[in-house]
């Protein structure tokens, strides 16, 4: 069994899980929602094993390092964290339908990694040979994943709102399976409450690493600046809740904009701008 085969099966599992959730929204048959989340959990387990295997494989190649060192590995890890955070939310709150808006992100990541990115295991360049890499990448990506979940929930909120304005509520509408607007707003906040401390830790560990390796904790490199931009947006989100008039729809938009900035910080900076992080980690 190779990690690469397992990653392929994981991708397939996420696809099936997503389709189950879509069918659940369309048909409102509870069993489909249960199947969707069960398959997502199965995929998560497989992916965990696959990541462990890949780690082991790198050691058999004599260049052992955690599988977090290039774009392929980070995209795979990002998918893993998204499903993990979704899974935790599912265990705690049991709003299955959220999977329909979160699993697409995980699937997109896995599909892109498996089909479009170079999956070879490469040796670590000197700049990345540090334990800080592990702390920094793990905290950042867990934070990003929580923002992905928040973004999915915000999209649900907006769909629900638009739908309710145009058609009177009834049991047959596609939003019938959605939690109420108030609950969605609260879940959005809860996800960001998970993501914001993690992003903060990610920025702090990044700064600590930069200081340790280069002697500057902050050099306004584009990646650093973009992570700060993301941080400002979610800080604004948190304060939005204290200010009247910014809850609900505006908060949902802020969360979506925040996630768009997150994705730019993660991919856009590497692909479009230049800087210290352009090797894709």
């Amino acid at each position: 069994m190779t990690s690469s085969l397992l990653f392929n099966i994981t991708t397939f599992a996420y696809l099936v899980s997503m389709l189950c959730f879509f069918a659940f929204v369309a048909s409102r048959a509870k069993v489909l929602g249960t199947a969707g989340s069960a398959i997502a959990f199965g995929g998560l387990l497989l992916q965990t094993i696959a990541i462990g295997l890949r780690w082991k494989e790198s050691y058999s190649l004599g260049i052992g390092h955690a599988p977090l060192s290039n774009l392929y590995e980070s995209v795979v890890f990002f998918s893993w964290t998204i499903v993990l955070i979704y899974g935790l939310l599912d265990l705690k709150y049991r709003y299955r339908v959220i999977g329909a808006f979160v699993m697409p992100f995980a699937l997109l990541g896995m599909a892109w990694a498996q089909l479009g990115l170079d999956s070879g295991i490469q040796p670590l360049v000197p700049a990345l040979q540090s334990n800080w890499l592990l702390y920094h990448v793990i905290t950042c990506f867990l934070g990003y994943a929580a923002f992905a979940v928040a973004c999915g929930i915000s999209i649900m909120y907006l769909i629900r709102e638009i739908h309710e304005r145009s058609t009177p509520a009834n049991d047959q509408s596609i939003v019938a399976t959605f939690p109420s607007g108030r609950v969605l707003d609260d879940l959005n906040y809860k996800s960001i409450m998970i993501g914001f401390p993690l992003l903060t830790l990610g920025i702090v560990t990044g700064a600590a690493w930069a200081n340790y390796a280069w002697g500057t904790y902050w050099s306004w490199d584009p990646k650093e600046t973009w992570s700060l931009i993301v941080w400002f947006i979610y800080a604004a989100f948190l304060h939005a809740r204290i200010t009247r008039g910014w809850a609900g729809r505006r908060a949902a938009w802020l969360s979506i904009v925040g996630f768009a900035a997150t994705i730019f910080c993660y991919l856009g900076v590497n692909l479009l701008l230049s800087g210290l992080h352009s090797y894709g980690g």
Binding site: P126, A127, Q129, M193, F196, P222, F232, I233, L273
Partner: protein, 459 residues
């Protein structure tokens, strides 16, 4: 002070206390920070200067776009953020402080209405017995209650983690602490760069602001080396450094290996492996094709020179023994690139012991014979040098921020009030965070109270 001045001051104060300003500042900072990720910062690369017009260049310069994170308007925004933060804290902290230190210990009628978790339990028994039972249950399930007696009723008040209300202020303070650390670093620290050839020592650093700084000691580079992975990718850049005081090696700082991600710190100054290069002189001769009229030409490592016909020549790489790369040949060799008059560039190898092969390059060297004589070469190591006395303040700020955010989000100030009268027990409570979780807790507590109060009833 006149009324007008006072209200002017008041409205300015309200402005700085407002969360609208906070939202504006956070979003504005997010948006304008983008500029510096698109426009290059610091030393401008020549390729960039070619792509933009003079007018644009002047405009950007005037606006400070090339060093925007130190521009007056960016600093102004950060200052406004700090003032906003301080003002908001001054306004709210006293109230929060009062909530913590002088809790409302009696649930009055008005207060009762504001509580979302409120239950009345009807039971038998006189107030003082009920009081003791409820107090015991509260102590076991939640926290030791404070008991007050008014108008024949007993009031029990219990709370958990009241100080978690301060967490938000710790987070806000941490932002200021980090700013202070950054200011200390920029006032009393510096960043610089040194190149040290193998075997030599350097005692002065060129800072980024182009000042020469005396280290007060010297650093010698004993050796620099690069290791490679089997596939040719670089694996490790290593300098062996020795710190010298008055020319003598310092104990514990003799021949210290410094690699990327593992710097050397001495007297608060840290040296980071950053780059490397070669340093040396190479001799060439230029003569007629048959070897007559030789003239010497000296080129520095990675340097360039002019050939007699005016074309430029760059020295790219040299080796004292070519046989490692081209078996069958021997002796020193140099790889050069010539910029021909027609604009073409031509790359070739010049040998020391092989005039026949050198003659093949005659078309590119203006009909003259170019030969390599050899040279001496040293590696040099490029070290980033930094001194930042504010960095500890920054880490303290970061720690405060992380702990503060955790406490602000995941710790909740929970309060429970109980009013015990003859035959009735009224329970109410609230929480500053996680109301859902608190509600479940309250439901369980009320069930337990009902059970225990009635079961003891029947004894």
């Amino acid at each position: 002070m006149t009324i007008n001045e006072q209200s002017g001051f008041q409205s300015l104060w309200d402005y700085f206390c407002s969360l609208k300003l906070t939202m504006f500042l956070l979003i504005t900072l997010a948006i304008i920070s983008i500029i510096g990720t698109v426009v290059p910062q610091g030393a401008l690369p020549p390729e960039y200067l070619q792509t933009i017009s003079q007018n644009k260049l002047k405009l950007y310069q005037a606006l400070g776009f090339f060093d925007m994170y130190h521009s007056w308007w960016f600093i102004l925004l950060l200052s406004l953020l700090s003032i906003n933060l301080i003002a908001c804290s001054i306004k709210r902290l006293p109230l929060i402080w009062k909530t913590i230190t002088q809790p409302v210990v009696v649930m009055g009628a008005g207060h009762e209405k504001t509580l979302s978790n409120l239950t009345t339990i009807e039971t038998r028994g006189d107030a003082s017995t009920l009081r003791d039972r409820v107090a015991a249950i509260l102590k076991a399930e939640f926290a030791d209650p404070l008991i007050t007696e008014t108008d024949g009723a007993f009031h029990l008040f219990a709370q958990k983690t009241p100080w978690s209300r301060l967490a938000v202020y710790a987070v806000h303070l941490s932002v200021l602490v980090i700013f202070i650390g950054a200011i200390i670093g920029s006032l009393f620290g510096y960043k610089g760069f040194i190149n040290i050839p193998e075997g030599e020592s350097v005692g002065k650093v060129m800072s980024r602001s182009k000042n020469e700084i005396d280290l007060g000691f010297a650093v010698r580079c004993e050796k620099f080396s690069v290791a490679h992975y089997p596939n040719g990718a670089p694996k490790e850049f290593k300098s062996i450094l020795t710190v010298l005081e008055n020319g003598q090696p310092v104990q514990g700082y003799n021949r210290v290996p410094v690699i990327v991600n593992d710097p050397l710190t001495y007297k608060g100054i840290t040296f980071y492996q950053s780059s490397y290069g070669k340093f040396g002189e190479h001799e060439f001769t230029i003569s007629d094709p048959n070897g007559r009229n030789p003239q010497s030409l000296i080129i520095q490592s990675n340097g360039s020179a002019k050939l007699p016909d005016g074309s430029g020549i760059c020295l790219q790489e040299t080796t004292p023994d070519i046989s490692r790369f081209m078996p069958g040949l021997s002796g020193p060799a140099a790889q050069v690139e010539v910029h021909l008059a027609n604009g073409e560039n031509k790359e070739f190898i010049v040998f020391a012991n092989n005039p026949a092969m050198n003659r093949m390059n005659l078309p590119y060297t203006g009909g003259k014979l170019l030969q390599y004589r050899g040279g001496e070469e040293f590696m040099y190591t490029g070290l980033q040098v930094a001194k930042d006395p504010g960095v500890w303040v920054v880490w303290v700020g970061c720690l405060l921020m992380v702990v503060g955010i955790y406490a602000a989000f995941f710790m909740s100030h929970r309060r429970i009030w109980v009013r015990v009268e003859n035959g009735t027990v009224t329970v109410g409570g609230n929480a500053s965070k996680n109301q859902g979780g608190f509600q479940i807790f309250m439901e369980r507590l009320v069930t337990k109270l009902k059970d225990q109060l009635s079961s003891e009833d029947n004894k």
